[in-house]
Amino acid sequence: MATVDLKDAKKVYSSGVEAVKGVSIAIPDKELCVLVGPSGCGKSTLLRMIAGLETISSGTVAIDGKIVNAVGPAERDIAMVFQNYALYPHMKVYDNMAYGLRNRGTPKDEIDSRVRSTAKVLELSALLDRRPRELSGGQRQRVAMGRAIVRNPKVFLFDEPLSNLDAKLRGQMRVEIKNLQRTLGVTSIYVTHDQLEAMTLADILVVMNAGLVEQIGAPLDIYEAPASTFVASFIGAPPMNLLALTGGLSGPTLADGTAIGFAPADTKAATLGFRPEDADVTFNAKAPSGALVLPATVEAVEPVGAESFLHCAAGGVRIVMRVAGRAAARPGDQLRVVARAEKLHWFDKTGKRVG
Amino acid sequence: MRKPLVKATQEGMKSMSIIKHGLAAFAAGTLGVALALPAAAAPVKFDFWFGLSGDLARVVDTLCKNFNASQSDYEVVCTSQGNYDATLQNTIAAFRAGKQPTVVQVYDVGTATMMLSGAYYPADKLMEENGYKIDYSDYFPGIARYYATSKGEMLSFPFNSSTALMYWNKDAFAKIGKTEAPKTWEEVGADLQAMKDAGYECPMAINISANESWQLMEQFSAIHNQPIATKSNGYDGLDARLAVNKTKFVQYVGDLKKWYDAGLIKIKSKDLGQDMVQAFASGTCQVILTSVGDHGTVGKTHKEGMNWDVAELPVYAGTERKNSLVGGASLWVLSGKPAEEYKGAAAFLNFIHDPKTALFWSTNTGYIPVAKSGFDYMKSNGFYDKAPYKGRETAIASLTASEPTEITRGIRLGNFTQIRAEFGTQMQAIFANKVSVQDGLDTLVKNGDAILDRFQQTYPNKTLP
């Protein structure tokens, strides 16, 4: 129904603080774009700029090809689900959902049919006469979604909509949102700080840091080829193991002086990284060639059922390894971590991906 | 000592006055407690509450210091209660709690209430018992009879006394070719018109609140020998009722109103930005009627180079002038105090009666001496010969214009404060053209009589002494 295009969008507050420092994103029609990043990275501000709740200091925001910088939130034809749901406490569920339609002068019977059909989809039909305070957290969340859906807008905006729910409900709602979005086919922008939510929901994932976009792409592409050490450590749980390199006479060494034994993929490489699942753990002293071999000492073991995490000291830092099933290692065990060269990621001094 | 205050508190009401009076009584009570514990050989302390404030309160304080310095047996502790109303209210509250002062200053119209209170120790009896010989005939008769019982007993001591005078601007009168103050109201009317024609914006200023009942109604009635109430203005019984709607006063109000409508009289009050005395002193208005007590204020604050003087209040042509009424307050000694405090109180009253004290008092305030001896002493000292005190002897002349008649000796009506308030209300209604002069005064009498009726019912089977 609509595309959303951001071109070098900036937000500078009157205090001089730059919250968003120039962001360009093109979101195709019907896709779900997730903005992810740590708190304070500007993702919520960016969302509010798209919503029209914050002015745009420079750059442009276009919805459906039309620049909306000077268009008020009501006229942008978008709907937003707020973190705290922002349900009108004095209105019944029905009126909460109908309010936006009434303001737009929709005929009464059309409002009624749309509210009731939306309520049906969201399984809210029995709750239409209740007030928000009589609903559970999950139900309120649905009402908030319903209020957005019933308007049939061009774009949905979600501002951390699941953060107030417990873990189980969150997983459930995540799937529901994804399905709903796909069924309705409405272009959506979703803000979260939870990388799991980001990975599972996104068609397009935007990783933000300090007001800037670090990387845009399909979630798995980003996972497999993080554009920076920041992305590498933000996406994935546990995060990628990162080891700083120092240039020695006989090639790069790790912080504790261990030589890596082969040439990095790029001469500018200053950090190497590997995912916890991308290395093998072995007690075997023999090392395969062309692989990074790190002597490691197990410090802690976290079994989570299907897999276990080994927290080890290696190369002068703490790394985490993921092993399937029950781990044989015990704290204090000496072992080797073997990562094949093609599974290694290389980053330069500024943290940018190289090689 | 807070018990009666709680009683007096109209429940649920958080009005300022209650807090204010509560604090005052509380402070007074605390003071009382402090005073109850004197050191062994210290002089006997007793309380004196008075209702003057500002400069006048400072003069009273000095008076008290002088008394304390004049002897070593007694020490008077003088406390201002702010104004006359508050002094009476606080004294009543304190009396009901048994924490009353020994001596209290009560204003002229509170006399009837005091006489029926049963809360006083007769002043003449006190003086006699303590061996002081006071020559009561020494008091100016107009003053003495105001406070005396119908049998002539002095239940309280006249203290600060004044009477009303006409203040007139000599420069303005010179403009219309006059060098003397007008003697009659007819003359006043013509003079005001002439001043108006000569370009004066405000020939005369009056105010018409409760306070001006004194000069407009009470003094006028006395000088013209017109009753304010039946039964000799209340001296002869609690069943006295108002009479002012049938006397010459009606004509007077009619004239004032006529002059006001013609722009010859302006209303001046503090609420409106400038009171009468300020209006006169600044040269804005040329004639005012006010107390001799304001003589000092006008003398100190009048416009540079302004020539002014005071004269007796005018009368209507053909009227035989009678004495004007005394205004001010007297000192009452309250019952229920120990004998040694009464000795102190007697010494204090004797000190105040002394002509030298009269000179001090009149020099520092605008009040007139209350006794002939005091007046003579001051005259012999040349007090009245030159500015700023010259002119104040007019007040004595006014007070002694005649031997007091049944009507001109004073007013003895219960809750007269409320009647004065009613006077203000009706005058305002008359001047705002809400009612006619006669209707307004009829209502004043009707409402005033209801107040008197209520007072009489409150004291069944009692008669004024």
């Binding site: 009501a74 | 007096a8 109209q10 209170s117």
Partner: protein, 294 residues
Amino acid sequence: MEKRVTFSRWTVGILFAVPQMLLIFTFFYWPAGQAVYWSLTLQQPWGGGNIWVGLDNFRSILASADYWNSITASLAFAAISTGLAMVIALVLAALTDRQLAGSRFYRVVLIWPYGIAAPALALAFRFILAPEAGFMAVVNRAWPGFWDPGLDGADAMASIIAAFSWKYVGYNFIFFLAAFQAIPRSLIEASAMDGAGVVRRFRDIQFPLITPTIFFLLVINITESFQDSFGIVDIMTSGGPANATNLMVYKIYSDGFKGLDYSGAAAQSIILMMLIVVLTIFQFRFIERRVHYR
């Protein structure tokens, strides 16, 4: 582990309640009882004695045209000053909440008036509204005789209403602003995205959500207009001219303390108390129904 303290014996609970009960008894029920007793008797001010007169005090008050005038004036004063104080405060608070230009200025300045004692405030207003020397003198110069609170009852009433409203605008403003600010910002934003303009947002979202505050202030303002008006009347008009501003509380004071008619004043205060009780019950019965508590 959380420890829960429970009282096994009710006597302990009573013991804790006693100080409060004593206070309420000493400062409310006992004086209220005294006032009822006084209103049924004729009290001699100096305490010399009293006479039982039954309902005579009430009869004479209710038969007095002055008293009915006082009730009318009080009701008019309550209605107009409460209306003014609340509407102005509501508008100012709404503007401040919207962060319009100058809002910081309002916020600071409007908190001051409530801190000023009524008599001091009244003195200031007396000066400001003095027809010859004050601010209104300018108006009077243009239209002579336009403003005359000394003789014109309506002008005097307007003066005390202005002073009282001014004081309570600040008080109401603080509560209104707090109420507005307690509304989550996201609600306003949600309604903005729901297509509601400023006026509609105020009507549909903000106004209903601050109804508890509006109701609270309505009760307080009306009650205070019957009580806190005393200092203002005392300084500005003394009940005049011609009783035009002789509000019930001032009449109680002047009859009771100045006129020493304790019994009549007690009867009036009983009537005033009942009037306030009735008004408050009315407000709770009929207005509170429209209040949305969150």
